[in-house]
């Protein structure tokens, strides 16, 4: 396994559309990096540039200390797992897994050993004589992973591998990928638009939007200290609530509520005195009881938690309460904010607390 460096990568298509802007990332040996972002943000394009399926317009790609920017995909020693599995339907699972090694004309006995060992890791030993259409989606995706494992590549690339699976299978396969990573200690680059996958799998997350990297950090860093409004809104389910508030005399003033600042917050927001900023509050950081009145319009019971959707003045708000609630549309519930995030209204960057 190897380390991977993406240095100032740009992708500009022939029609002059730029999909990726100045992408910088240093992946350590054995690290699992998840690229997350909405559709069209450039995450798959970045992954395809690493794989060699897209030309790199500018910048350098370095694997294990070697510049592979101009190298053909087959020479990069990278294995990619696709969303649609890309298995050969006329071949058995064994043949599918052995195929790339057969092409390399490796010793047949060694191929056999590698396939059996990968099949054992993935729990596919009993399926080796079956054809892909006899397997479930999750098993097919495991075969696709097995095909990557047998090659023992320097870097594994995953392009939304769980998107074709139903919710239950997605959870199970996600856990398998995590176990696989722990077992192989392989360098992995994983693309997804699903933040749950990103938060549960990643050693570090790269959050992207419109071709730009918004933030790189551990899952906790992205959740707890988002770098800007985009990351704050994208990471977390349900998403963060935002309010335009004015900073005045140690208080945040909205048209329908006032929130007193702590001394620490007051110090950090000193330079915004009299200005309007964006206040962000995660639904799980809202608790019942307080002086902010929410007009409820829906109550969603999820078992252990309840999502209460409502309106505060002209702002929509979602609250996540840790009990079974039975609010009805038209009810009023008083809430308070536990943890607050502040963002500069103009730049959308987070205002860090001192």
């Amino acid at each position: 396994m190897s380390d991977l460096k993406l240095q100032h990568l740009d992708k500009i298509y022939d029609n002059k559309v730029q999909a990726v802007f100045d992408f910088n990332l240093d992946v350590k040996n054995g690290e699992l990096i998840v690229l997350v972002g909405p559709s069209g943000c450039g995450k798959s394009t970045t992954l395809r540039m690493v794989a060699g399926l897209e030309d790199i317009s500018a910048g350098n790609l370095i694997i294990d200390g070697k510049d592979v920017t101009k190298m053909a995909p087959k020479d990069r020693d990278i294995a990619m797992v696709f969303q649609n599995y890309a298995l050969y339907g006329h071949m058995t699972i064994y043949e599918n897994m052995a195929f790339s090694l057969m092409l390399r004309k490796e010793n047949k006995n060694e191929i056999h050993q590698k396939v059996l060992s990968a099949a054992e890791i993935l729990g596919l030993t009993d399926q080796l004589n079956k054809k892909p259409n006899q397997l479930s989606g999750g098993q097919r995706q495991r075969v696709a992973m097995g095909r990557a494992i047998v090659r023992t590549p320097k870097v594994f690339l995953f392009d939304e591998p769980l998107s074709n699976l139903d919710a239950k299978l997605r959870g199970a396969t996600r856990r398998e990928i995590l176990l696989l990573h722990k077992r192989l200690r392989a360098t992995m680059l994983y693309v997804t638009h699903d933040q749950t996958e990103a938060l549960t799998l990643a050693d570090r997350i790269v959050c992207m939007s419109m071709g730009h990297v918004q933030q790189i950090g551990t899952p906790l860093e992205l959740y707890d200290t988002p770098a800007n409004l985009f990351v704050a809104g994208f990471i977390g389910l349900p998403p963060m609530n935002f309010f335009d508030v004015e900073v005045k005399n140690g208080e945040l003033i909205c048209e329908s509520f006032k929130v007193a600042l702590t001394p620490e917050e007051k110090g950090s927001l000193e330079r915004y005195e009299g200005a309007t900023i964006t206040l962000g509050v995660r639904p799980e950081d809202i608790s019942e009881g307080g002086d902010i009145s929410v007009n409820v319009f829906s109550n969603e019971n999820l078992g252990q938690t309840t999502l209460v959707n409502g309106v505060v003045g002209k702002h929509r708000i979602t609250c996540k309460f840790r009990e079974w609630c039975t609010y009805k549309a038209g009810d009023t519930v008083n809430v308070s904010f536990k943890k607050k995030h502040f963002f500069d209204k103009k730049t959308t960057d987070a205002i860090s607390l001192r």
């Binding site: 058995t92 064994y94 050993q113 060992s117």
Partner: protein, 166 residues
């Protein structure tokens, strides 16, 4: 499952790979049989071949191709029965040399007032080579499959025994 010695790994591979060698040899035997009957059927020697025997020959050729093709599929999955079928139809190809080619080679006809041998020695050698090669391929394919199928069965039995033991 890990096997330490190469011979064991080779045997274990049989569990997941097809017997392509036997299958391909059988398909080649079908091709050689086709070369044989095309050579006979295109012969222009009056009405010599227009008899009951040639009808049986046509039917046998069709049967041979069908059985050989089914056998080629059967041996792919190491079915022992198809080994005997292949050996049987291989022996049949040898016997065929003594029926139409031998007779045609030893018969002369008067065509347009000229004495002509029905099957010249050049054609005779050609059809004999086709039939012998076809026979050899069928028999070899059958024997290879027989050995591989037995090896696989023994290996499987050993694995089952180990599995029961553990």
């Amino acid at each position: 499952m890990n096997f330490n010695n190469e011979a064991m790994i080779k045997k274990d591979r049989l569990r997941f790979t097809k017997n392509k060698l036997s299958a391909n040899l059988t398909l080649l035997a079908i091709l050689l049989n086709a070369l044989y009957f095309v050579s006979i059927y295109k012969s222009d020697v009056g009405s010599y071949y227009y008899n009951f025997l040639i009808g049986i020959s046509v039917i046998y050729n069709l049967l041979f191709m069908l059985v050989a093709f089914l056998s080629s599929e059967g041996v792919k999955t190491y079915k022992v029965g198809y080994s005997f079928t292949l050996i049987g139809i291989g022996v049949g190809q040898i016997i065929r040399i003594f029926i139409i080619p031998m007779n045609a080679n030893s018969t002369t006809l008067s065509l347009g007032g000229e004495e002509t041998t029905v099957m010249e020695s050049g054609q005779f050698i050609y059809v004999c080579v086709c039939l012998v090669a076809s026979a050899a391929l069928c028999i070899i394919a059958g024997i290879i499959n027989l050995f591989k199928a037995r090896a696989l069965a023994e290996h499987q039995a050993e694995l089952d025994k180990k599995a029961k033991g553990s």
